[in-house]
Symmetry: C2
Subunit: 247 residues, 2 copies
């Protein structure tokens, strides 16, 4: 975490089993600007063979990962803990969607609290005793018939929502036009050229001409043409109506 970055939540994986899920978790964290990873009792020890292969360029997350023997130790220095779970545990805690949970987390982080989010084992999730260590629950608005989210997929949704809640969800580029919208006089001039060419070509049945012109002008308006678009279209029209050179 660089000094310039806002405080981040810590992602805590409890006894993850598959190296590729840990690597994909690191990648998902990196995608949305998280880098603090804790792992409780990784199956097969640490460093784990094969974790780097699926981490893309988020190997800094793996290199900085902290390993703990128990969930209680992994949470020791945190002030607020969310537990992710797919099913009702009969526990009387607040239950958030990932968006609401990350809004709560972002508020606490900016007030100086250290926040962690617990993710359980691939097959069986968190135990009830582990969920019991958390302040509140995060669950996902999945289709009940296909409720099993992959571990790294659930980390991704949390990381994505954290970035949004932290006000950092900026798109990498925008759909800016290279030239501005065409002024109306350029459009009207284009319409008149096109209609004159179509008149010369005998396109319009006289009784339908006015309606056809209005419909075609509507089509052009829906294009929201830029100045460059109008120039391109005029060039294409000139090319189509140019008389072939005399032989």
């Amino acid at each position: 975490m660089t000094d310039a970055s806002p405080p981040h939540p810590v992602i805590i994986l409890v006894e993850p089993q598959l190296a590729e899920n840990i690597g994909m978790t690191a990648r998902a964290m990196g995608n949305f600007g998280l880098d603090a990873l804790r792992i409780v009792a990784p199956k097969g020890g640490w460093p784990m063979k094969g974790v780097r292969e699926t981490a893309s360029n988020a190997t800094h997350v793996l290199d900085g990962a902290r390993i703990f023997a128990t969930v209680a130790e992994a949470l020791g220095d945190l002030h607020y803990v969310l537990a992710t779970t797919a099913r009702e545990r009969g526990q009387m805690k607040r239950v958030f969607g990932p968006d609401e949970g990350m809004a709560e987390a972002a508020g606490r982080l900016s007030a100086g609290e250290r926040v962690g989010i617990l993710f359980g084992r691939e097959r069986v999730g968190l135990s009830n005793d582990e969920v019991s260590l958390a302040d509140a629950i995060v669950t996902f608005p999945v289709d009940p018939d296909h409720a099993s989210l992959n571990l790294a997929q659930s980390v991704l949704l949390v990381a994505y929502e954290w970035r949004r809640a932290a006000g950092r969800a900026v798109l990498p580029f925008l759909g800016a036009m290279r030239t501005g919208p065409a002024p109306r006089e350029a459009l009207i001039s284009l319409f008149e050229s096109l209609e004159a060419d179509l008149d010369a070509a005998g396109y319009y049945p006289p009784s339908k001409r006015d309606g056809m012109i209005r419909n075609m002008r509507d089509m052009f308006h829906r294009m929201a043409m830029t100045e460059q678009d109008v120039r391109s279209f005029r060039g294409a029209l000139r090319a189509l109506t140019r008389r072939p050179p005399e032989e």
Copy 2:
């Protein structure tokens, strides 16, 4: 897609290479209620060995997948197409985040349009010509230093946002308390019992008693106790203050 389900967008993978990404895509689609998958020229043919292993119980998505030779054919019957891309293409199209893109898609779907979302190859994404076949672009608000989203991860974010935009993002359970909040008289009665026991135990220095009582009442109020919580607490208090049986 069952008759009861609202119209869904179609997910279109262009030349996906890794079986596990296709399986994980199907799983991610299933998680958020999508089931229409099209694949353009899958590397290694179709059915592809190993796709089912990572699909969890979303094998119905794979079984229903339609295979096409070209992107143009895969889009043939659609009315509105979004292309996902991580980088600027210099194309003058609208650029959406996944939330805005799926809001647009949901609106068009409910107006009866068929909508598809294009996802490119794992390493190189979509070609400029393929992006050019789309009406608009979807890109993701990633950290620019770690911008590479896994294929199935980007499908997951789109599926998640579609479910939200379609108004179907219902959490599988809520944090409903098993009993209602305790009425104030039960709380005050608990406070008075506790304070009487602490008086009897000589806990309060007389000069600080009033302040300490107020602070502890504040702690209890922050618990937002239910009726059952009050009963449990009273039972615990009785157990602690019970005289040991005479020997």
